[in-house]
């Protein structure tokens, strides 16, 4: 009996040490593997997805058109070419020979399916409102799609770059399999997913873009804590780590890592124009005169003009349509006199609602409070977790701090948030002149004229707008060996181009 025990123990010990050894081994040498530490994933069914683990959807699916990293120019992807004579009828020619991961062909039927899904009431598609303008879809042959819009929309094509608009297979059961077994045409195929832990993607051997992807495997680790992700990067356990903050950036740069900043995130500070106190433009101007972009930048541990930008309109500074109006300068006395004129000689209290767990939320809210205090603003900070904030306070408060996703075509954002009847008009802006400008912009086919309208719009915003736009940094850290990391303003990483230089 005792002897048996000894033997058993020996066997156990042996197997234990072997597995210990195996756990520490490096992956096989033949494969080139790119590893990313990312946030915890939510859904990966594109229509209802809200920005979790970008790299998953970006790698599994493709779009009809994409934006080019660096330039922001529109480039063909699954759609080879497109044309519109009048901005109302759009003809798209699809790339031929593209296959889904299960081998079925990508045809115009799939495009129809994907677009019609936006209007499906059971899906709750997040782009439903944007695609309501599509009246009719025709598919004259397998590789041609014609869209008939209800109204003129010269920049409609940009809608198809949106991260919700990946091309889905009309023959696949996404309702039951969409989350765990996604079906796309993208450069990587999902091989295995351990919920809340990791995803393993392998190269799509039949990818339509020859020579891509350049790595054999993509491993994504879901790490909820950004400090833990950074530790993993430092320990050499992953190659790429997005969403680091400026402090990590400083530390990592000192340690010899590469930091790229593909784009910025928007943070809109909205002042509700339909209620006290911001219905009076003088109060809005007073708040604007309290601003100090340098201090806001310092709060984010970033550099103004390099990682963060400040302006008083809804258009990001890196966009082509941006019109630069120099900062008016911080002037507390002017702010005070404006407030006095508006009927607040002794100052006032305003509630500022924000999402406390959203990056930079806390820092910006507190800085705003400090900046506006000398003029008499007493900001009552009300931070709630994002879901409570969005469910109860967003669109409902006198002053809001909200993070917005990118709209590669600014007119989309304008229609949603700044037109008086826009569904997400958080600042309840109701200005007929601005409404008119927005309409002109969306209808204008001539680029030069459209830019003139954009300029006029931004000047109007500067004078009497309801928003302060602070663009916060988005940093991605990676090892020096990682090459050609691409991430256009659509948020979708293009890992098919990345490779490792040993």
């Amino acid at each position: 009996m005792k002897k048996l025990l000894v033997v058993l123990t020996a066997v156990l010990l042996l197997s234990g040490t072997m597995s210990l050894g195996a756990g520490g081994q490096a992956p096989e040498e033949e494969k080139i593997i790119l590893r990313e530490a990312s946030q915890v994933p939510g859904l990966i069914f594109p229509p209802v997805w809200d920005g979790q683990t970008l790299s998953l959807n970006a790698s599994i699916y493709d779009f009809l058109v994409e934006l080019e990293h660096g330039t922001g120019a529109l480039v063909p992807s699954l759609a080879k070419e497109w044309s519109t004579p009048d901005g109302k009828v759009w003809t798209l020619k699809l790339r031929e020979g593209v296959k889904f991961h299960d081998g079925s062909d990508f045809t115009s039927e799939d495009v129809r399916y994907t677009l019609e899904l936006t209007q499906d009431p059971d899906v709750g598609h997040l782009k439903k409102a944007d695609f309501e303008v599509v009246e009719r879809i025709e598919t004259p042959d397998d590789y041609t799609v014609v869209l008939y819009l209800a109204e003129v929309s010269p920049t409609f094509i940009y809608q198809l770059t949106d991260y919700h608009m990946c091309m889905l297979s009309s023959e696949y059961d996404y309702a039951s399999k969409g989350e765990m077994e996604p079906m796309g045409t993208g450069p990587f195929v999902l091989k295995q997913m351990v919920p809340k832990e990791s995803a393993l993607l392998v190269k799509n051997e039949d990818y339509w873009n020859p020579g891509l992807p350049k790595v054999d495997e993509l491993r994504i680790y879901f790490v909820p804590d950004i400090d833990a992700s950074v530790s993993m990067l430092e320990a050499g356990k992953v190659d790429v780590c997005p969403f680091i903050n400026a402090i990590h950036k400083r530390n990592l740069e000192d340690k010899g890592f590469k930091i790229v900043s593909p784009y910025q995130d928007y943070r809109f500070i909205a002042m509700a124009a339909d209620r006290d106190p911001f219905d009076d433009n003088r109060v809005r101007l007073a708040m604007k005169y309290c601003m100090d972009p340098e201090m806001l930048a310092a709060a984010c541990q970033a550099e103004l003009g390099k990682d963060v930008y400040y302006n008083e309109g809804p258009i990001q500074s890196i966009m082509a349509q941006y019109y630069d109006i120099p900062f008016r300068g911080r002037d507390i006395d002017k702010a005070k006199s404006l407030l006095a004129e508006a009927g607040y000689p002794d100052g006032l209290t305003v509630e500022l609602y924000y999402g406390s767990d959203h990056p930079y939320g806390q820092e910006l809210a507190q800085t705003l409070k400090e900046l506006s205090a000398p003029a008499g603003f007493d900001l009552d900070l009300k931070g709630y977790t994002r879901d409570v904030y969005l469910a109860q306070y967003w669109m409902n408060g006198p002053m809001l701090l909200t993070g917005w996703g990118p709209r590669v075509d600014p007119s989309m954002l304008l229609k949603l948030a700044y037109r008086s009847d826009g569904p997400w008009n958080e600042s309840h802006m109701n200005d007929p002149q601005i409404d008119a400008l927005i309409d002109k912009i969306t209808m204008e086919v001539d680029d030069v004229q459209r830019q003139r309208y954009y300029d006029e719009l931004q000047i109007a915003f500067h004078e009497r707008g309801t928003v302060i736009n602070f663009q916060v940094p988005f940093f991605v850290a990676m090892r020096q060996e990682v090459m050609d990391y691409r991430q256009p303003p659509t948020f979708m990483n293009q890992y098919e181009y990345a490779y490792l230089e040993e």
Binding site: I226, D227, N245, I247, H248, R250, N251, E294, M295, A298, A299, Q301, S356, Q362, E363, A365, Q366, T367, K369, E370, L381, K382, G383, Y384, T385, V388
Partner: protein, 276 residues
């Protein structure tokens, strides 16, 4: 008086504890007004700088706020909540525990069962679920939550204390004389059981500090920019390598307060209980 001095000499550590506690109370009352900075002031020339630089005795955090001032300001809320909690939970506990012990029978049995169930629930988790979903806390909501968590404990002690006195003659005498139950409980019995109850209250004080700090650490402390010691720890954890003082000093503040009150509570227990 002489007795107390004698006891002080016997337990020097307890004296240290009491002094530290008094120091914190003084700090809470007067500290913030003695500081050159306010707790939300952002000194952008000195972000994440170490102790001593720029006039910041304990350094600054990521936003350039003075750590010492924030600790002093934070002591107000943590002491207030802990004090209110220990008072409130003791009061409620005495009422519930006395009633159960005095009336006995079914009331007592029911009381014990309910208390057993409540005590089986991990208090931190329950508080976290409630406050975590509510989103933020105020002094009132924190007090209520933490009190609810601690009432079973104080009620049990009160009940136990009452039971030891229940069968004494003076109780019978009072009953014969026609005194009301309420009066018997609180006028006759209470003064004789005040010892263990006060000890329990001081112990609750220490545990309340722990609970409030932990809740702040888990993210359900007071709304920023109001300083909350627990929240200061979790907020600055990510810059721990760059600015460890931003995490270390709030943690030390919590530790010193907890230890001081524990020593104080131990001393009170030695004085009041080992006396009779």
């Amino acid at each position: 008086m002489k007795r107390i001095l004698y006891l002080f000499r016997q337990h020097p550590l307890a004296v240290v504890g009491i002094l530290v506690l008094l120091l914190w109370i003084f700090a809470a009352l007067f500290g913030p007004s003695l500081m050159p900075f306010t707790y939300s002031q952002m000194d952008t020339d000195y972000q994440m700088t170490g102790p001593g630089e720029g006039g910041h005795f304990l350094g600054t955090d990521a936003l350039g706020r003075d750590i010492l001032t924030r600790i002093l300001q934070g002591s107000r809320s943590i002491l207030t909540v802990a004090l209110l909690t220990s008072l409130f939970s003791t009061l409620a506990g005495v009422i519930l525990g006395f009633s159960a012990g005095y009336f006995g029978g079914r009331v007592d049995a029911l009381f014990l069962r309910i208390m057993d169930i409540l005590m089986a629930i991990p208090p931190l988790v329950l508080a976290m679920v409630i406050l975590g979903i509510l989103g933020d806390s105020t002094i009132v909501s924190l007090t209520i939550m933490v009190s609810i968590a601690y009432i079973p404990a104080t009620a049990r002690v009160a009940r136990g204390a009452l039971l030891t006195c229940k069968n004494y003659e003076y109780v019978d005498a009072a009953r014969i004389m026609g005194q009301s139950n309420f009066s018997i409980m609180f006028v006759e019995i209470l003064p004789n059981t005040i010892g263990p109850i006060i000890v329990e209250a001081t112990a609750r004080f220490a545990y309340s500090i722990m609970m409030v700090a932990s809740l702040g650490f888990l993210g359900v402390g007071l709304q920023p920019p109001t300083p909350d010691w627990g929240m200061m720890v979790i907020e600055n954890k990510s810059i721990m390598m760059n600015a460890p003082w931003a995490v270390l000093y709030p943690a030390l503040a919590i530790a010193s307060l907890v230890i001081a009150i524990s020593l104080f509570s131990d001393f009170v227990s030695k004085v009041l209980i080992h006396e009779s």
